[in-house]
Symmetry: C2
Amino acid sequence: MVFVKRMAVIGVGLIGGSFARILREKGAVGEVVGIGRGEANLKRGVELGVLDSYSLDPCEGVRGADLVFLATPVCSIPAMVERIAPYLEPGCIVTDGGSVKEFVVNACEPLMPEGTFFVGGHPIAGTEHSGVEASFSTLYQGKRCIVTPTENTDAAALAKVVELWKIAGSNVPLMDPVQHDRVVAAISHLPHMVAYSLVNAVDGYDRFGGDLLSFSAGGFRDFTRIASSDPVMWRDIALTNKDAIIEMMDFFVDYFDRLRTLVESEDSKGLEAFFLNSKQKRDAIL
Amino acid sequence: MVFVKRMAVIGVGLIGGSFARILREKGAVGEVVGIGRGEANLKRGVELGVLDSYSLDPCEGVRGADLVFLATPVCSIPAMVERIAPYLEPGCIVTDGGSVKEFVVNACEPLMPEGTFFVGGHPIAGTEHSGVEASFSTLYQGKRCIVTPTENTDAAALAKVVELWKIAGSNVPLMDPVQHDRVVAAISHLPHMVAYSLVNAVDGYDRFGGDLLSFSAGGFRDFTRIASSDPVMWRDIALTNKDAIIEMMDFFVDYFDRLRTLVESEDSKGLEAFFLNSKQKRDAIL
Protein backbone atom coordinates (compact mmCIF):
# COMPACT_ATOMS: atom_id res chain seq x y z
CA MET A 1 0.00 0.00 0.00
CA VAL A 2 1.22 3.48 -0.82
CA PHE A 3 1.95 5.73 2.08
CA VAL A 4 1.82 9.51 2.40
CA LYS A 5 4.17 10.92 5.00
CA ARG A 6 2.63 14.33 5.28
CA MET A 7 -0.52 15.47 3.47
CA ALA A 8 -1.54 19.11 3.20
CA VAL A 9 -5.27 19.59 2.61
CA ILE A 10 -6.13 23.02 1.23
CA GLY A 11 -9.83 23.63 1.89
CA VAL A 12 -10.93 21.46 4.80
CA GLY A 13 -14.61 20.95 4.04
CA LEU A 14 -16.77 17.99 3.07
CA ILE A 15 -14.43 16.84 0.28
CA GLY A 16 -11.06 17.58 1.87
CA GLY A 17 -12.13 16.50 5.35
CA SER A 18 -13.59 13.21 4.16
CA PHE A 19 -10.44 12.38 2.17
CA ALA A 20 -8.28 13.03 5.23
CA ARG A 21 -10.57 10.98 7.46
CA ILE A 22 -10.51 7.85 5.31
CA LEU A 23 -6.75 7.95 4.64
CA ARG A 24 -6.11 8.26 8.39
CA GLU A 25 -8.55 5.49 9.14
CA LYS A 26 -6.79 3.21 6.65
CA GLY A 27 -3.33 4.13 7.95
CA ALA A 28 -2.35 5.50 4.55
CA VAL A 29 -1.16 8.87 5.82
CA GLY A 30 1.23 9.85 8.59
CA GLU A 31 0.35 13.46 9.26
CA VAL A 32 -2.37 15.78 8.00
CA VAL A 33 -2.03 19.57 7.89
CA GLY A 34 -5.14 21.60 7.17
CA ILE A 35 -4.92 24.87 5.27
CA GLY A 36 -7.70 27.41 4.91
CA ARG A 37 -8.91 30.90 5.71
CA GLY A 38 -11.45 30.06 8.41
CA GLU A 39 -9.59 29.40 11.63
CA ALA A 40 -12.68 28.18 13.50
CA ASN A 41 -13.25 25.46 10.89
CA LEU A 42 -9.60 24.39 11.01
CA LYS A 43 -9.63 24.26 14.82
CA ARG A 44 -12.75 22.13 14.64
CA GLY A 45 -10.91 19.86 12.20
CA VAL A 46 -8.16 19.32 14.80
CA GLU A 47 -10.76 18.71 17.55
CA LEU A 48 -12.53 16.16 15.36
CA GLY A 49 -9.25 14.35 14.73
CA VAL A 50 -9.38 15.07 11.00
CA LEU A 51 -6.24 17.19 11.17
CA ASP A 52 -3.05 17.02 13.22
CA SER A 53 -2.37 20.72 12.79
CA TYR A 54 -3.35 23.65 10.63
CA SER A 55 -1.98 26.74 9.00
CA LEU A 56 -3.63 29.88 7.68
CA ASP A 57 -0.66 30.36 5.35
CA PRO A 58 -0.65 27.92 2.40
CA CYS A 59 3.07 28.48 1.73
CA GLU A 60 3.89 27.54 5.29
CA GLY A 61 1.37 24.69 5.36
CA VAL A 62 2.70 22.79 2.33
CA ARG A 63 6.29 22.67 3.59
CA GLY A 64 7.49 19.10 3.89
CA ALA A 65 4.32 17.67 2.33
CA ASP A 66 4.69 14.81 -0.13
CA LEU A 67 1.03 15.18 -1.10
CA VAL A 68 -1.11 18.31 -1.43
CA PHE A 69 -4.85 17.87 -1.88
CA LEU A 70 -6.68 20.94 -3.19
CA ALA A 71 -10.34 20.95 -2.24
CA THR A 72 -11.31 24.56 -2.84
CA PRO A 73 -13.79 26.01 -5.35
CA VAL A 74 -12.55 25.42 -8.89
CA CYS A 75 -11.68 29.00 -9.84
CA SER A 76 -9.28 29.42 -6.96
CA ILE A 77 -7.22 26.29 -7.69
CA PRO A 78 -4.75 27.69 -10.27
CA ALA A 79 -3.98 30.79 -8.18
CA MET A 80 -3.39 28.58 -5.17
CA VAL A 81 -1.04 26.30 -7.10
CA GLU A 82 0.87 29.34 -8.35
CA ARG A 83 1.19 30.58 -4.79
CA ILE A 84 2.41 27.34 -3.21
CA ALA A 85 4.60 26.20 -6.12
CA PRO A 86 7.86 27.74 -4.83
CA TYR A 87 7.41 26.04 -1.46
CA LEU A 88 6.79 22.48 -2.65
CA GLU A 89 9.28 19.79 -1.67
CA PRO A 90 10.95 17.87 -4.52
CA GLY A 91 8.81 14.86 -5.44
CA CYS A 92 5.62 16.40 -4.07
CA ILE A 93 2.39 15.41 -5.79
CA VAL A 94 -0.36 18.01 -6.03
CA THR A 95 -3.83 16.73 -6.82
CA ASP A 96 -7.30 18.24 -6.59
CA GLY A 97 -10.97 17.39 -6.19
CA GLY A 98 -12.39 20.05 -8.50
CA SER A 99 -15.56 19.34 -10.48
CA VAL A 100 -14.13 20.76 -13.72
CA LYS A 101 -10.94 19.30 -15.12
CA GLU A 102 -9.85 20.89 -18.42
CA PHE A 103 -9.65 24.34 -16.84
CA VAL A 104 -7.80 23.09 -13.77
CA VAL A 105 -5.36 20.74 -15.47
CA ASN A 106 -4.48 23.16 -18.28
CA ALA A 107 -3.86 25.95 -15.80
CA CYS A 108 -1.95 23.96 -13.18
CA GLU A 109 0.39 21.74 -15.16
CA PRO A 110 2.60 24.59 -16.41
CA LEU A 111 2.83 26.04 -12.90
CA MET A 112 4.49 23.00 -11.36
CA PRO A 113 8.24 23.28 -10.58
CA GLU A 114 10.61 20.67 -12.04
CA GLY A 115 10.44 17.45 -10.05
CA THR A 116 6.95 18.04 -8.64
CA PHE A 117 3.80 16.60 -10.17
CA PHE A 118 0.22 17.60 -10.84
CA VAL A 119 -2.56 15.02 -11.23
CA GLY A 120 -6.20 16.11 -11.73
CA GLY A 121 -8.98 14.22 -9.99
CA HIS A 122 -12.67 14.50 -9.32
CA PRO A 123 -14.47 12.39 -6.74
CA ILE A 124 -18.13 12.12 -7.81
CA ALA A 125 -19.49 12.20 -4.32
CA GLY A 126 -20.95 14.78 -2.05
CA THR A 127 -23.91 15.93 -0.07
CA GLU A 128 -25.54 19.35 0.04
CA HIS A 129 -23.76 20.05 3.33
CA SER A 130 -20.39 21.72 3.67
CA GLY A 131 -17.62 22.34 6.21
CA VAL A 132 -15.39 19.89 8.07
CA GLU A 133 -18.29 19.11 10.38
CA ALA A 134 -20.12 17.53 7.43
CA SER A 135 -17.18 15.28 6.45
CA PHE A 136 -17.21 11.53 7.04
CA SER A 137 -14.85 8.71 6.19
CA THR A 138 -17.25 6.68 4.04
CA LEU A 139 -18.15 9.51 1.65
CA TYR A 140 -16.14 7.97 -1.18
CA GLN A 141 -17.02 4.34 -0.51
CA GLY A 142 -18.42 2.73 -3.68
CA LYS A 143 -18.33 6.03 -5.57
CA ARG A 144 -16.34 6.94 -8.64
CA CYS A 145 -13.34 9.20 -8.59
CA ILE A 146 -12.44 10.16 -12.14
CA VAL A 147 -8.71 10.84 -12.50
CA THR A 148 -7.72 12.84 -15.58
CA PRO A 149 -4.12 12.34 -16.70
CA THR A 150 -2.70 14.07 -19.76
CA GLU A 151 0.35 13.29 -21.90
CA ASN A 152 2.38 15.33 -19.39
CA THR A 153 1.35 13.37 -16.32
CA ASP A 154 4.06 11.48 -14.44
CA ALA A 155 3.23 7.77 -14.38
CA ALA A 156 4.33 7.16 -10.80
CA ALA A 157 2.43 10.20 -9.49
CA LEU A 158 -0.67 9.07 -11.39
CA ALA A 159 -0.41 5.56 -9.93
CA LYS A 160 -0.11 6.96 -6.42
CA VAL A 161 -3.17 9.21 -6.74
CA VAL A 162 -5.20 6.35 -8.21
CA GLU A 163 -4.12 4.08 -5.35
CA LEU A 164 -5.13 6.64 -2.71
CA TRP A 165 -8.63 6.95 -4.16
CA LYS A 166 -8.90 3.17 -4.22
CA ILE A 167 -7.92 3.12 -0.57
CA ALA A 168 -10.74 5.64 -0.02
CA GLY A 169 -13.10 3.02 -1.44
CA SER A 170 -13.70 4.48 -4.88
CA ASN A 171 -13.68 3.08 -8.37
CA VAL A 172 -11.13 5.10 -10.29
CA PRO A 173 -11.71 5.41 -14.03
CA LEU A 174 -9.14 7.42 -16.02
CA MET A 175 -10.53 9.93 -18.45
CA ASP A 176 -9.36 12.70 -20.71
CA PRO A 177 -10.09 16.09 -19.01
CA VAL A 178 -12.27 17.26 -21.92
CA GLN A 179 -14.32 14.09 -21.91
CA HIS A 180 -14.64 14.29 -18.13
CA ASP A 181 -16.07 17.78 -18.39
CA ARG A 182 -18.75 16.65 -20.85
CA VAL A 183 -19.72 13.66 -18.75
CA VAL A 184 -20.15 15.66 -15.56
CA ALA A 185 -21.88 18.47 -17.45
CA ALA A 186 -24.54 15.90 -18.32
CA ILE A 187 -24.94 13.97 -15.10
CA SER A 188 -24.16 16.66 -12.54
CA HIS A 189 -23.88 20.21 -13.86
CA LEU A 190 -27.05 20.10 -15.97
CA PRO A 191 -29.19 18.70 -13.12
CA HIS A 192 -27.91 21.47 -10.86
CA MET A 193 -28.75 24.15 -13.44
CA VAL A 194 -32.22 22.63 -13.78
CA ALA A 195 -32.80 22.39 -10.02
CA TYR A 196 -31.63 25.93 -9.30
CA SER A 197 -33.86 27.24 -12.12
CA LEU A 198 -36.83 25.20 -10.95
CA VAL A 199 -36.75 26.51 -7.40
CA ASN A 200 -36.32 30.08 -8.63
CA ALA A 201 -39.20 29.66 -11.09
CA VAL A 202 -41.61 28.23 -8.53
CA ASP A 203 -40.51 30.86 -6.04
CA GLY A 204 -41.05 33.56 -8.66
CA TYR A 205 -44.52 32.42 -9.69
CA ASP A 206 -46.67 34.92 -7.84
CA ARG A 207 -50.11 34.11 -9.16
CA PHE A 208 -51.18 32.94 -5.73
CA GLY A 209 -49.25 35.29 -3.50
CA GLY A 210 -45.94 33.45 -3.52
CA ASP A 211 -46.91 30.84 -0.98
CA LEU A 212 -46.53 28.04 -3.51
CA LEU A 213 -43.46 26.45 -1.98
CA SER A 214 -45.34 25.81 1.26
CA PHE A 215 -47.48 23.27 -0.62
CA SER A 216 -44.50 21.26 -1.77
CA ALA A 217 -44.37 17.63 -0.72
CA GLY A 218 -41.54 15.13 -0.36
CA GLY A 219 -41.13 14.75 -4.10
CA PHE A 220 -40.35 18.41 -4.57
CA ARG A 221 -37.98 18.45 -1.63
CA ASP A 222 -36.01 15.44 -2.88
CA PHE A 223 -36.05 16.77 -6.40
CA THR A 224 -34.61 20.10 -5.36
CA ARG A 225 -32.10 18.89 -2.75
CA ILE A 226 -29.20 19.75 -5.04
CA ALA A 227 -30.49 23.35 -5.28
CA SER A 228 -29.27 23.69 -1.68
CA SER A 229 -25.66 23.22 -2.83
CA ASP A 230 -23.01 25.87 -2.25
CA PRO A 231 -23.57 28.89 -4.57
CA VAL A 232 -19.86 29.80 -4.77
CA MET A 233 -18.85 26.29 -5.75
CA TRP A 234 -21.50 26.25 -8.47
CA ARG A 235 -20.68 29.74 -9.68
CA ASP A 236 -17.12 28.50 -10.27
CA ILE A 237 -18.28 25.37 -12.04
CA ALA A 238 -20.54 27.42 -14.32
CA LEU A 239 -17.68 29.79 -15.10
CA THR A 240 -15.10 27.10 -15.84
CA ASN A 241 -17.18 24.51 -17.69
CA LYS A 242 -19.23 27.00 -19.65
CA ASP A 243 -19.12 25.40 -23.09
CA ALA A 244 -20.11 21.93 -21.93
CA ILE A 245 -22.83 23.28 -19.65
CA ILE A 246 -24.32 25.46 -22.39
CA GLU A 247 -24.26 22.46 -24.73
CA MET A 248 -26.11 20.30 -22.22
CA MET A 249 -28.58 23.06 -21.30
CA ASP A 250 -29.49 23.41 -24.97
CA PHE A 251 -29.71 19.64 -25.33
CA PHE A 252 -32.08 19.49 -22.37
CA VAL A 253 -34.26 22.32 -23.70
CA ASP A 254 -34.62 20.39 -26.94
CA TYR A 255 -36.11 17.44 -25.02
CA PHE A 256 -38.20 19.73 -22.84
CA ASP A 257 -39.58 21.36 -26.02
CA ARG A 258 -40.46 17.94 -27.42
CA LEU A 259 -42.41 17.20 -24.27
CA ARG A 260 -44.10 20.60 -24.46
CA THR A 261 -45.23 19.76 -27.99
CA LEU A 262 -46.63 16.41 -26.80
CA VAL A 263 -48.57 18.16 -24.01
CA GLU A 264 -49.77 20.96 -26.30
CA SER A 265 -51.00 18.52 -28.95
CA GLU A 266 -52.53 16.15 -26.36
CA ASP A 267 -50.53 13.29 -27.86
CA SER A 268 -51.58 10.50 -25.54
CA LYS A 269 -49.34 7.78 -26.99
CA GLY A 270 -46.39 10.12 -27.36
CA LEU A 271 -46.68 11.27 -23.76
CA GLU A 272 -46.84 7.75 -22.41
CA ALA A 273 -43.84 6.69 -24.52
CA PHE A 274 -41.83 9.72 -23.37
CA PHE A 275 -42.56 9.03 -19.70
CA LEU A 276 -42.03 5.28 -20.06
CA ASN A 277 -38.61 5.63 -21.69
CA SER A 278 -37.51 7.92 -18.90
CA LYS A 279 -38.83 5.60 -16.21
CA GLN A 280 -37.10 2.57 -17.73
CA LYS A 281 -33.77 4.33 -18.11
CA ARG A 282 -33.95 5.74 -14.60
CA ASP A 283 -35.00 2.45 -13.01
CA ALA A 284 -32.02 0.80 -14.73
CA ILE A 285 -29.46 2.94 -12.87
CA LEU A 286 -30.74 2.01 -9.40
CA MET B 1 -65.76 10.96 14.69
CA VAL B 2 -67.44 10.31 11.37
CA PHE B 3 -67.96 6.71 10.46
CA VAL B 4 -68.17 5.03 7.06
CA LYS B 5 -70.23 1.86 7.04
CA ARG B 6 -69.02 0.49 3.77
CA MET B 7 -66.32 2.05 1.61
CA ALA B 8 -65.72 1.04 -2.00
CA VAL B 9 -62.20 1.77 -3.22
CA ILE B 10 -61.91 1.83 -7.00
CA GLY B 11 -58.25 1.36 -7.88
CA VAL B 12 -56.50 -0.38 -5.01
CA GLY B 13 -52.94 0.87 -5.36
CA LEU B 14 -50.66 3.08 -3.31
CA ILE B 15 -53.25 5.86 -2.89
CA GLY B 16 -56.42 3.78 -2.50
CA GLY B 17 -54.74 1.09 -0.43
CA SER B 18 -53.14 3.55 1.96
CA PHE B 19 -56.44 5.38 2.51
CA ALA B 20 -58.19 2.09 3.32
CA ARG B 21 -55.37 1.05 5.66
CA ILE B 22 -55.44 4.20 7.77
CA LEU B 23 -59.25 4.41 8.03
CA ARG B 24 -59.34 0.77 9.17
CA GLU B 25 -56.53 1.37 11.62
CA LYS B 26 -58.41 4.34 13.09
CA GLY B 27 -61.69 2.45 13.22
CA ALA B 28 -63.34 4.97 10.89
CA VAL B 29 -64.66 2.41 8.44
CA GLY B 30 -66.69 -0.76 8.86
CA GLU B 31 -66.11 -2.65 5.67
CA VAL B 32 -63.85 -2.07 2.66
CA VAL B 33 -64.59 -3.42 -0.82
CA GLY B 34 -61.85 -3.21 -3.41
CA ILE B 35 -62.69 -2.71 -7.07
CA GLY B 36 -60.27 -3.06 -9.95
CA ARG B 37 -59.32 -4.97 -13.07
CA GLY B 38 -56.34 -6.89 -11.71
CA GLU B 39 -57.61 -9.80 -9.66
CA ALA B 40 -54.17 -10.75 -8.34
CA ASN B 41 -53.70 -7.27 -6.86
CA LEU B 42 -57.19 -7.36 -5.27
CA LYS B 43 -56.57 -10.81 -3.79
CA ARG B 44 -53.31 -9.54 -2.39
CA GLY B 45 -55.27 -6.62 -0.89
CA VAL B 46 -57.49 -9.10 0.96
CA GLU B 47 -54.47 -11.14 2.12
CA LEU B 48 -52.79 -7.99 3.42
CA GLY B 49 -55.93 -7.06 5.33
CA VAL B 50 -56.42 -3.87 3.33
CA LEU B 51 -59.71 -5.14 1.91
CA ASP B 52 -62.55 -7.29 3.28
CA SER B 53 -63.65 -8.33 -0.18
CA TYR B 54 -63.31 -7.34 -3.79
CA SER B 55 -65.22 -7.14 -7.02
CA LEU B 56 -64.12 -6.95 -10.64
CA ASP B 57 -67.43 -5.27 -11.46
CA PRO B 58 -67.65 -1.65 -10.28
CA CYS B 59 -71.45 -1.59 -10.47
CA GLU B 60 -71.64 -4.62 -8.21
CA GLY B 61 -68.84 -3.35 -5.95
CA VAL B 62 -70.40 -0.01 -5.08
CA ARG B 63 -73.76 -1.48 -3.96
CA GLY B 64 -74.50 -0.52 -0.39
CA ALA B 65 -71.49 1.76 -0.11
CA ASP B 66 -71.93 5.08 1.70
CA LEU B 67 -68.50 6.21 0.47
CA VAL B 68 -66.77 5.55 -2.85
CA PHE B 69 -63.12 6.51 -3.17
CA LEU B 70 -61.83 6.75 -6.74
CA ALA B 71 -58.09 6.23 -6.95
CA THR B 72 -57.60 5.53 -10.64
CA PRO B 73 -55.67 7.55 -13.26
CA VAL B 74 -57.36 10.91 -13.78
CA CYS B 75 -58.73 10.37 -17.30
CA SER B 76 -60.70 7.30 -16.29
CA ILE B 77 -62.51 8.95 -13.36
CA PRO B 78 -65.46 10.55 -15.21
CA ALA B 79 -66.24 7.39 -17.21
CA MET B 80 -66.14 5.39 -13.99
CA VAL B 81 -68.52 7.78 -12.24
CA GLU B 82 -70.88 7.60 -15.20
CA ARG B 83 -70.78 3.81 -15.01
CA ILE B 84 -71.43 3.45 -11.29
CA ALA B 85 -73.90 6.34 -10.94
CA PRO B 86 -77.07 4.24 -11.42
CA TYR B 87 -75.95 1.81 -8.70
CA LEU B 88 -75.15 4.31 -5.95
CA GLU B 89 -77.19 4.18 -2.74
CA PRO B 90 -79.05 7.35 -1.76
CA GLY B 91 -76.79 9.55 0.36
CA CYS B 92 -73.61 8.03 -1.04
CA ILE B 93 -70.57 10.31 -1.23
CA VAL B 94 -68.16 9.84 -4.12
CA THR B 95 -64.73 11.38 -3.74
CA ASP B 96 -61.45 10.95 -5.56
CA GLY B 97 -57.69 11.28 -5.18
CA GLY B 98 -56.89 12.54 -8.68
CA SER B 99 -54.02 14.96 -9.21
CA VAL B 100 -56.06 17.27 -11.46
CA LYS B 101 -59.26 18.77 -10.13
CA GLU B 102 -60.98 21.12 -12.61
CA PHE B 103 -61.29 18.35 -15.21
CA VAL B 104 -62.52 15.81 -12.68
CA VAL B 105 -64.94 18.02 -10.77
CA ASN B 106 -66.47 19.61 -13.87
CA ALA B 107 -67.00 16.22 -15.46
CA CYS B 108 -68.27 14.36 -12.41
CA GLU B 109 -70.65 16.77 -10.70
CA PRO B 110 -73.31 16.63 -13.45
CA LEU B 111 -73.14 12.83 -13.50
CA MET B 112 -74.25 12.38 -9.88
CA PRO B 113 -77.83 11.18 -9.32
CA GLU B 114 -80.12 13.28 -7.09
CA GLY B 115 -79.34 12.66 -3.43
CA THR B 116 -75.76 11.48 -3.99
CA PHE B 117 -72.73 13.77 -3.67
CA PHE B 118 -69.41 14.36 -5.38
CA VAL B 119 -66.47 15.96 -3.56
CA GLY B 120 -63.09 16.38 -5.28
CA GLY B 121 -59.90 15.78 -3.34
CA HIS B 122 -56.17 15.42 -3.90
CA PRO B 123 -53.81 14.02 -1.31
CA ILE B 124 -50.34 15.46 -1.99
CA ALA B 125 -48.49 12.36 -1.02
CA GLY B 126 -47.00 9.43 -2.81
CA THR B 127 -43.90 7.49 -3.60
CA GLU B 128 -42.61 6.27 -6.94
CA HIS B 129 -43.96 2.78 -6.14
CA SER B 130 -47.40 1.49 -7.06
CA GLY B 131 -49.80 -1.36 -6.31
CA VAL B 132 -51.46 -2.37 -3.05
CA GLU B 133 -48.18 -3.92 -1.93
CA ALA B 134 -46.67 -0.42 -1.82
CA SER B 135 -49.47 1.03 0.34
CA PHE B 136 -48.96 1.90 4.01
CA SER B 137 -51.11 3.50 6.65
CA THR B 138 -48.87 6.49 7.40
CA LEU B 139 -48.64 7.72 3.80
CA TYR B 140 -50.88 10.71 4.51
CA GLN B 141 -49.54 11.55 7.97
CA GLY B 142 -48.48 15.20 8.10
CA LYS B 143 -49.19 15.71 4.40
CA ARG B 144 -51.71 18.00 2.77
CA CYS B 145 -54.87 16.80 1.14
CA ILE B 146 -56.38 19.62 -0.87
CA VAL B 147 -60.18 19.32 -1.07
CA THR B 148 -61.82 21.31 -3.87
CA PRO B 149 -65.47 22.17 -3.27
CA THR B 150 -67.51 24.18 -5.76
CA GLU B 151 -70.73 26.14 -5.35
CA ASN B 152 -72.57 22.87 -6.03
CA THR B 153 -70.89 20.88 -3.27
CA ASP B 154 -73.09 19.58 -0.45
CA ALA B 155 -71.88 21.01 2.86
CA ALA B 156 -72.37 17.82 4.90
CA ALA B 157 -70.64 15.68 2.29
CA LEU B 158 -67.75 18.15 2.17
CA ALA B 159 -67.43 18.10 5.97
CA LYS B 160 -67.32 14.30 5.97
CA VAL B 161 -64.61 14.06 3.33
CA VAL B 162 -62.53 16.69 5.13
CA GLU B 163 -62.92 14.80 8.41
CA LEU B 164 -61.81 11.51 6.83
CA TRP B 165 -58.61 13.09 5.51
CA LYS B 166 -57.95 14.59 8.93
CA ILE B 167 -58.37 11.13 10.43
CA ALA B 168 -55.78 9.96 7.88
CA GLY B 169 -53.40 12.49 9.45
CA SER B 170 -53.48 15.18 6.78
CA ASN B 171 -53.88 18.92 6.82
CA VAL B 172 -56.88 19.67 4.65
CA PRO B 173 -56.90 23.08 2.93
CA LEU B 174 -59.91 23.89 0.77
CA MET B 175 -59.18 25.32 -2.64
CA ASP B 176 -60.96 26.26 -5.83
CA PRO B 177 -60.34 23.51 -8.44
CA VAL B 178 -58.75 25.95 -10.90
CA GLN B 179 -56.40 27.35 -8.28
CA HIS B 180 -55.57 23.82 -7.16
CA ASP B 181 -54.54 22.89 -10.68
CA ARG B 182 -52.17 25.88 -10.92
CA VAL B 183 -50.59 25.15 -7.55
CA VAL B 184 -49.89 21.50 -8.32
CA ALA B 185 -48.75 22.37 -11.84
CA ALA B 186 -46.02 24.41 -10.19
CA ILE B 187 -44.94 22.20 -7.31
CA SER B 188 -45.59 18.76 -8.76
CA HIS B 189 -46.42 18.62 -12.47
CA LEU B 190 -43.61 20.92 -13.59
CA PRO B 191 -40.94 19.04 -11.60
CA HIS B 192 -42.13 15.79 -13.15
CA MET B 193 -41.97 17.24 -16.67
CA VAL B 194 -38.46 18.47 -15.90
CA ALA B 195 -37.30 15.17 -14.42
CA TYR B 196 -38.69 13.06 -17.26
CA SER B 197 -37.06 15.39 -19.80
CA LEU B 198 -33.76 15.38 -17.95
CA VAL B 199 -33.44 11.60 -17.88
CA ASN B 200 -34.40 11.35 -21.54
CA ALA B 201 -31.92 14.07 -22.48
CA VAL B 202 -29.01 12.50 -20.59
CA ASP B 203 -29.98 9.10 -21.97
CA GLY B 204 -30.13 10.56 -25.48
CA TYR B 205 -26.76 12.29 -25.32
CA ASP B 206 -24.61 9.85 -27.26
CA ARG B 207 -21.35 11.72 -27.52
CA PHE B 208 -19.66 9.12 -25.35
CA GLY B 209 -21.45 5.98 -26.44
CA GLY B 210 -24.53 6.34 -24.29
CA ASP B 211 -22.92 5.11 -21.09
CA LEU B 212 -23.39 8.45 -19.37
CA LEU B 213 -26.02 7.30 -16.90
CA SER B 214 -23.63 4.75 -15.42
CA PHE B 215 -21.55 7.66 -14.09
CA SER B 216 -24.46 9.15 -12.21
CA ALA B 217 -24.05 9.54 -8.46
CA GLY B 218 -26.53 9.88 -5.60
CA GLY B 219 -27.46 13.43 -6.53
CA PHE B 220 -28.66 12.40 -9.96
CA ARG B 221 -30.56 9.43 -8.56
CA ASP B 222 -32.38 11.51 -5.96
CA PHE B 223 -33.01 14.25 -8.44
CA THR B 224 -34.59 11.90 -10.93
CA ARG B 225 -36.54 9.70 -8.51
CA ILE B 226 -39.83 11.20 -9.69
CA ALA B 227 -38.97 10.19 -13.28
CA SER B 228 -39.67 6.63 -12.12
CA SER B 229 -43.34 7.48 -11.56
CA ASP B 230 -46.12 5.70 -13.39
CA PRO B 231 -46.23 6.75 -17.09
CA VAL B 232 -50.00 6.21 -17.43
CA MET B 233 -50.78 8.34 -14.41
CA TRP B 234 -48.59 11.12 -15.74
CA ARG B 235 -49.93 10.85 -19.27
CA ASP B 236 -53.39 11.50 -17.81
CA ILE B 237 -52.19 14.43 -15.73
CA ALA B 238 -50.52 15.99 -18.78
CA LEU B 239 -53.70 15.52 -20.80
CA THR B 240 -56.06 16.95 -18.20
CA ASN B 241 -54.02 19.84 -16.79
CA LYS B 242 -52.55 20.92 -20.09
CA ASP B 243 -53.01 24.69 -19.83
CA ALA B 244 -51.52 25.02 -16.36
CA ILE B 245 -48.65 22.69 -17.21
CA ILE B 246 -47.82 24.56 -20.41
CA GLU B 247 -47.93 27.83 -18.49
CA MET B 248 -45.50 26.52 -15.87
CA MET B 249 -43.21 24.89 -18.46
CA ASP B 250 -42.90 28.24 -20.23
CA PHE B 251 -42.37 30.00 -16.92
CA PHE B 252 -39.57 27.55 -16.08
CA VAL B 253 -37.91 27.96 -19.47
CA ASP B 254 -37.85 31.70 -18.92
CA TYR B 255 -35.79 31.18 -15.73
CA PHE B 256 -33.64 28.52 -17.38
CA ASP B 257 -32.92 30.98 -20.21
CA ARG B 258 -31.93 33.64 -17.71
CA LEU B 259 -29.45 31.21 -16.19
CA ARG B 260 -28.16 30.28 -19.64
CA THR B 261 -27.50 33.97 -20.30
CA LEU B 262 -25.60 34.27 -17.02
CA VAL B 263 -23.47 31.24 -17.91
CA GLU B 264 -22.90 32.42 -21.48
CA SER B 265 -21.85 35.91 -20.38
CA GLU B 266 -19.72 34.56 -17.50
CA ASP B 267 -21.60 36.82 -15.10
CA SER B 268 -19.92 35.81 -11.86
CA LYS B 269 -22.08 37.96 -9.54
CA GLY B 270 -25.29 37.12 -11.36
CA LEU B 271 -24.58 33.39 -11.18
CA GLU B 272 -23.84 33.48 -7.49
CA ALA B 273 -27.01 35.51 -6.82
CA PHE B 274 -29.13 33.13 -8.89
CA PHE B 275 -27.80 30.08 -7.05
CA LEU B 276 -27.98 31.76 -3.66
CA ASN B 277 -31.63 32.79 -4.04
CA SER B 278 -32.52 29.24 -4.99
CA LYS B 279 -30.58 27.77 -2.08
CA GLN B 280 -32.20 30.13 0.42
CA LYS B 281 -35.72 29.47 -0.83
CA ARG B 282 -35.17 25.74 -0.91
CA ASP B 283 -33.55 25.62 2.54
CA ALA B 284 -36.58 27.51 3.89
CA ILE B 285 -39.03 24.72 2.98
CA LEU B 286 -37.14 22.02 4.87
